[in-house]
Symmetry: C2
């Protein structure tokens, strides 16, 4: 009994310490300190349990101050000039009085374990602007994990006063869908001309886009870009109308000659205005919140399995049995699931 | 104590009944009875717990008889002529002495709740062939669920003696990746000519393909198809070599004039031969088995939450709180996760 009281007291004291740490970080964050923002994002990316406890508290403090931004997703195949566009677009946003945060989502980093090459040297001019915060892509063990952490990073950036959050996709595959699930406006950058069959635009992505922007519309390429833009505009008519009632435009721009970049921002501002008036903006965020509730819950539940050393050992054994053909993946999953339910019921009082 | 013995006895008796049912189904299945095969697939698709117990037993009986087939994934945008191709290709396989099963994966059915329109009237000629079994796409509540059930359906088809399993993707999006994760050979059907930017082929899919086939290479379209095939063949050279050491070919065919369909089968037979000789075929299946071990396990663990009525009620409450903006998705997930861990530890003896 004594013992029990003592451990309770220690646990509470520890919790208070973490809470104080989180509160102190939050207060520095609210002042818009970019160094603290970086520290905080590193904290939410950490897999250490002690860090995660602080991160959870921190997020709670930030939530009432989050949400007051426009979240812009930007995607396009490699070579479309994403970095150059964001460099120019970010400067335009700052010129319009915005504080800009640029985050990257890179599912490929979960396998390579690192962030994209040259990430720190990208957007060099933009990154020196005091109203801009650029964060290299988060690494993680699962795609869902990377996505959730990016979503938490958005909350932190917003609490730090950044009111235009750019989420950039890096790599190919599922990242577009993930980014789409966490932004208000989804911008698809495209190239005009040669090699359309390798452009890598799947129909699903065009349907997600709130605007198409043909990049590199300068010099000899300008005419081709305008032609492509008209073609895409025609193609867009084939899609059913959006729930947002927003009519998706197709435009051209050049980050090189800095032409029409302001038009892109005008389009987004117009979307912001229109969907806030017709109620879609808030409704869309609620739909996203419900989606993320389920995704976060699922990840936590699965994490419950993967945080148990005994179960992890059992998993390794079953994995090699499956690899050697001694067991089917179905049998293996059944066995591990049985261990999981047994383990949970003998856990005693909570976690 | 008496009570305990009694309930144990009932549980065992029930288990034996299910086992006998599964064994009887298995014996009819082994004879290649297509009606029984349909019943069995319906059983594995059922969400009733009593059905699932029988299905699990059934899968166990089938496993030693499964695996002796070539599993072929077929994908391509709507309009590429997938059904027509499969109709013609299936007949070619039967002509080569194969027993052919055609399964469809349709992630969109999870939202619409139904199978694709006209599914039953598709491939009418092929479906009357006694050596062919065609199954409309499985519906399910989650993409992972649909995929796992399709994978179990493959086992059943193989145990029933079908030795060429065609997995067809329906709809767009993530289904290609899922199909790729469960087949030996991945075939990408493509159109030549107009509207390449809407063709919907993303780079990731081209990299997954083991062969590209340009469809509708007949009449006026033939020349264009051959040109496109050469272009794609050039593009394929840009990709890094495959782990299978297989060199991906690009060819043309016409299901309408029945031209070159046999060439497609020759390519697949050659792949089968080459990768069985160099060991990739078996290694690839092991990699897939390990992947599916984890996916199945994750789905079971998450299912543990969603099979609990109290937790489901709590989820509904939290969902509407999130929808009304009273709670963040992070807070909601935390609360539900806490309930989950509490519930599990008070579960007593087992599930």
């Amino acid at each position: 009994m004594e013992q029990h009281h003592l451990s309770n007291w220690i646990a509470k004291r520890k919790a208070r310490k973490e809470d104080l740490h989180a509160l102190s970080l939050f207060e520095q964050l609210k002042n818009g300190d970019r160094t603290v923002l970086s520290q905080c994002i590193t904290l939410i990316e950490s897999s250490l349990q002690s860090d995660q406890l602080i991160a959870n508290e921190l997020i709670k403090y930030c939530l009432p101050y989050a949400g007051n931004s426009i979240r812009i997703g930007i995607t396009g195949v490699p070579g479309v000039g994403k970095s150059t566009f964001i460099e120019s677009f970010g400067a335009t946003l700052v010129g319009n009085g915005k504080k800009v945060a640029v985050l990257a989502i890179d599912p490929s980093s979960s396998s390579t374990g690192g962030s994209i090459l040259g990430d720190k040297t990208r957007m060099q001019e933009l990154s020196t602007n005091p109203n801009v915060y650029i964060r290299p892509s988060a690494a993680g063990t699962t795609l869902g994990g990377v996505a959730r952490k990016t979503r938490e990073a958005i909350i932190l950036c917003e609490a730090a006063g950044f009111d235009a959050i750019i989420i950039e996709t890096v790599g190919v595959g599922q990242s577009e869908t993930l980014v789409h699930s966490m932004v208000d406006f989804f911008l698809l950058l495209m190239l005009a001309g040669a090699g359309d069959e390798l452009q890598g635009i799947k129909r699903g992505i065009m349907e997600m886009a709130d605007a198409l922007v043909i990049t590199k519309a300068d010099g000899e390429n300008q005419l081709k870009a305008e032609q492509a833009s008209r073609q895409y505009a025609n193609a867009l008519h084939l899609f059913p109308p959006k729930l947002s009632q927003w009519v998706v435009p197709s435009l051209t721009c050049s980050a090189y000659t800095n032409t029409n970049i302001d038009k892109v921002w005008e389009v987004i501002a117009s979307y912001d205005n229109q969907t806030k008036t017709n109620g879609w903006f808030a409704q869309h965020r609620k739909i996203q919140d419900k989606y993320w509730l389920l995704e976060t819950l699922k990840e936590k539940i699965i994490g419950h399995f993967f945080s148990d050393a005994k179960l992890l050992n059992a998993l390794k054994e079953v994995e090699s049995a499956v690899e050697n053909g001694e067991k089917s993946s179905f049998q293996g999953a059944d066995e591990l699931y049985y261990l999981f339910t047994q383990k949970k019921s003998s856990d005693g009082n909570g976690i």
